[in-house]
């Protein structure tokens, strides 16, 4: 590990440095904005797909054919089954790391979608199972438990379907926040990974027993095509695209620099770095290919805008994995997936921006500062002066890009933070607060509280941008 020279800080920016650094590859000054158009198109596609999933049932069910309770229950079970099948595909697609999704929706929105859809999917699957069990049991004048036995013995592929439902229940419950916190991350991750099995195990019973799907025809073909598309997206997003990216850029650790007692910056070099289409504030999922770290991948933001020569991530040491980052040796190969995220200057809705960072949350904001037009403002919350990271770069950027920077130091209840972190205090520092986009990055508590303060100060919801990996 090397320690930074105090006078070298100015070279850290990607722009031609006044302190003698080599001129960087030119960054186009005004990146085109990325508006909500793509997001709306995806939302429309989602709803269209949902309608298409249920439509076969609607068309194949004669009006008035649902005479008795058993029919009604069975019909409800079929509908929820179709919806569950569709939602499972959407879930897997959302997790496919497809570049389009990662850059249009962003990781934060995807993980929220994944969580909410996951809960819905679990309820849909359980409803589907329960309704059909009760419905069939009534039709055959069987007990519900007897019907479970009948399904398992008389129907094709039902055993695997029940196993799939069981996996889904386990995955769903371990994803509940309280339970998830008590599990080791690796165990939780392994459990969550088994949910891919549900795609496989739940597949067959839809076609051998699904009233809408077992007949050959456009519905069955379409359903199979949807499965194939999702699997293709998964293969592309998880395997092919990262493979292409990493074979092309061959990233390696160049240096590890201590920024503060508990924060390190990892500098990476590679080939054709100027061709990475990366925006400041985006993140990659990093996998450091050394004996201890190759099997885990973690998302970290890049803490400097694209400069064509190096990438840098700045990470606070909080756990086992981040501690290992300190001991990386230069030359270690790095596997990266990305770039992802909508936490960028291009996604702003207004011309000017206010950035609020907490602790090591400065990393993506520092990268974004280089791509924001002059006139941005940065509020940097840190507990002690030693926790302020990259402050030379920030000072330099403040000067070069006419950015106002305030360091707000202290605990939450100290007078300084209390004075600033409320609607009046923010308005005092940034009078045109409500006409700016606000980018927030930091510990969960700070982010939540700041969002409350911002909303109280009258900042519209769509002008507040968050990045948080923990839900």
């Amino acid at each position: 590990m090397t320690y930074q020279h105090t006078d070298a800080a100015g070279r850290r920016t990607g722009h031609s440095a006044p302190y003698g650094g080599r001129p960087a590859a030119p960054v186009p000054p005004g990146r085109p904005r990325r508006g909500p158009g793509g997001r709306r198109a995806l939302a429309a596609a989602f709803w269209l797909g949902l309608v298409l999933a249920v439509l076969p049932w609607w068309l194949a069910t004669p009006a008035g054919s649902l005479a008795d309770t058993a029919d009604l229950l069975t019909a409800g079970g079929r509908i929820t089954g179709l919806i569950a099948g569709y939602l499972l595909l959407v879930q897997v697609l959302a997790m496919s790391r497809l570049g389009v999704l990662e850059r249009v929706l962003g990781g934060e929105r995807i993980s929220r979608l994944h969580r909410d859809l996951g809960a819905t999917l679990l309820v849909a699957v359980l409803t589907h199972t329960a309704l059909l069990l009760v419905g069939y049991a009534r039709q055959e004048r069987n007990s519900v438990f007897g019907e479970v036995g009948a399904l398992l013995t008389d129907y094709d592929d039902m055993l695997s379907a029940f196993v799939a439902a069981g996996i889904m229940v386990v995955v769903g419950f371990t994803a509940v926040r309280g339970i998830r916190r008590r599990l080791p991350y690796e165990l939780w991750y392994a459990l969550h990974l088994t949910s891919y099995l549900t795609l496989l195990l739940g597949y067959a019973h839809q076609f051998s027993n699904g009233a809408q799907l077992y007949e050959p025809g456009p519905v069955r073909t379409g359903w199979i095509a949807a499965y194939l598309l999702v699997v293709a997206a998964l293969a592309w997003g998880r395997i092919i695209a990262p493979l292409v990216f990493n074979l092309r850029h061959k990233l390696r650790v160049a240096d590890v620099v201590a920024e503060s007692p508990d924060t390190v910056s990892v500098y990476l070099t590679g080939q054709r770095l100027n061709q990475i289409d990366m925006l400041g504030g985006q993140y990659f999922r990093w996998r450091f290919l050394n004996p201890g770290g190759w099997w885990q991948s973690h998302p970290f933001s890049v803490s400097a805008a694209a400069n064509g020569r190096w990438l840098r991530l700045t990470v606070k040491v909080v756990g086992g994995h981040t501690a290992d980052l300190r001991d990386l040796t230069p030359g270690t190969r790095v596997w990266a997936e990305g770039p992802s995220g909508t936490f960028t200057a291009a996604h702003r809705t207004r011309e000017r921006a206010l950035l609020i960072a907490g602790g090591s949350g400065i990393a993506p904001l520092r990268a974004m500062l280089e791509e924001l037009p002059p006139g941005a403002a940065l509020i940097y919350r840190a507990r002690t002066p030693a926790d302020v990271l990259l402050h030379r770069e920030l000072d330099w950027l403040a000067q070069a890009r006419q950015t106002s920077v305030w360091y707000v130091i202290g605990r939450r209840d100290d007078p300084g933070p209390r004075q600033v972190m409320n609607p009046e205090g923010l308005r005092h520092l940034v009078p045109d607060l409500t006409r700016r986009d606000v980018y927030l990055c930091g510990p969960g508590g700070l982010v939540d509280e700041t969002v409350r303060v911002l909303r109280a100060a009258g900042v519209p919801r769509r002008q507040i941008h968050l990045t948080a990996f923990e839900l």
């Binding site: 249920v54 049932w57 609607w58 068309l59 194949a60 069910t61 004669p62 009006a63 008035g64 054919s65 649902l66 005479a67 058993a70 029919d71 009604l72 019909a75 409800g76 509908i79 929820t80 919806i83 929220r112 969580r115 909410d116 859809l117 996951g118 809960a119 819905t120 309820v123 849909a124 409803t127 069939y136 039709q139 055959e140 009948a150 399904l151 008389d154 129907y155 027993n209 009233a211 077992y214 007949e215 050959p216 025809g217």
Partner: protein, 198 residues
């Protein structure tokens, strides 16, 4: 989490709405005298059917049904059509003792449907009619033994006989026997063709 709750509520509401829209009020199963209606695509005089939503009517062209039933080669993709057609006009008035008006001569005759080949074998359905009323039905040449035989027996037990579902409903619009979807469908298909012939 709030959005998940909204989504789950939406799921429940949507499913209920769909079932209610399809099931509808007054969606009584036709009990008797359905055979003449099956041979004529339009239901006789002023059947109210206030709840029949258009999608089913649009999804199934009535003229397509006779042609599929005339073909004895069992095309599985077509077997949904005849079943749908018979029930596009759910009668709200049950008109139970129709036999007295419709059947002046109580002669019984038997009609046999075409052989339908399905995943586990083949079968055909023979119905006995008294006038236009089905009084008995039975599946012929059904698979014997093994899981196929078990399925065939289940279907036979539910549908056939003078107290089976065919006689009760007087139509091919029967509840699918769970665990024997293919067999049920084949049975219904052959039955529908027999009804069309009768």
């Amino acid at each position: 989490m709030r959005r998940a709750l909204i989504a789950i509520t939406g799921l429940a509401a949507g499913t209920t709405a769909l079932v209610v829209l399809k099931g509808g009020p007054g969606a009584g199963q036709a009990t008797a005298g359905d055979v003449p209606a099956a041979s004529a695509p339009v239901a006789p005089g002023g059947s109210p059917a206030p709840d029949a939503p258009p999608p089913t009517a649009a999804g199934v062209t009535p003229s397509a049904a006779p042609s599929t039933s005339a073909k004895p080669s069992a095309k599985p993709s077509a077997d949904r059509t005849p079943a749908t057609r018979t029930s596009t006009r759910p009668r709200t008035a049950p008109a139970a003792p129709k036999t007295t008006t419709k059947a002046p001569k109580p002669t019984t005759r038997t009609v046999t449907g075409p052989t339908v080949t399905y995943r586990y074998g083949s079968l055909r359905v023979q119905i006995t009619l008294s006038g236009s009323r089905i009084v008995d039905a039975t599946g012929l040449d059904m698979p014997v033994g093994g899981q196929e035989g078990q399925r065939a027996d289940d279907v036979q037990a539910r549908y056939s006989g003078s107290s089976g579902e065919v006689v009760a409903k007087q139509s091919a619009n029967l509840n699918t026997v769970s665990g024997a979807t293919y067999t049920s469908t084949a049975y219904k298909q052959s039955l529908q063709s027999a009804l069309d012939k009768a």
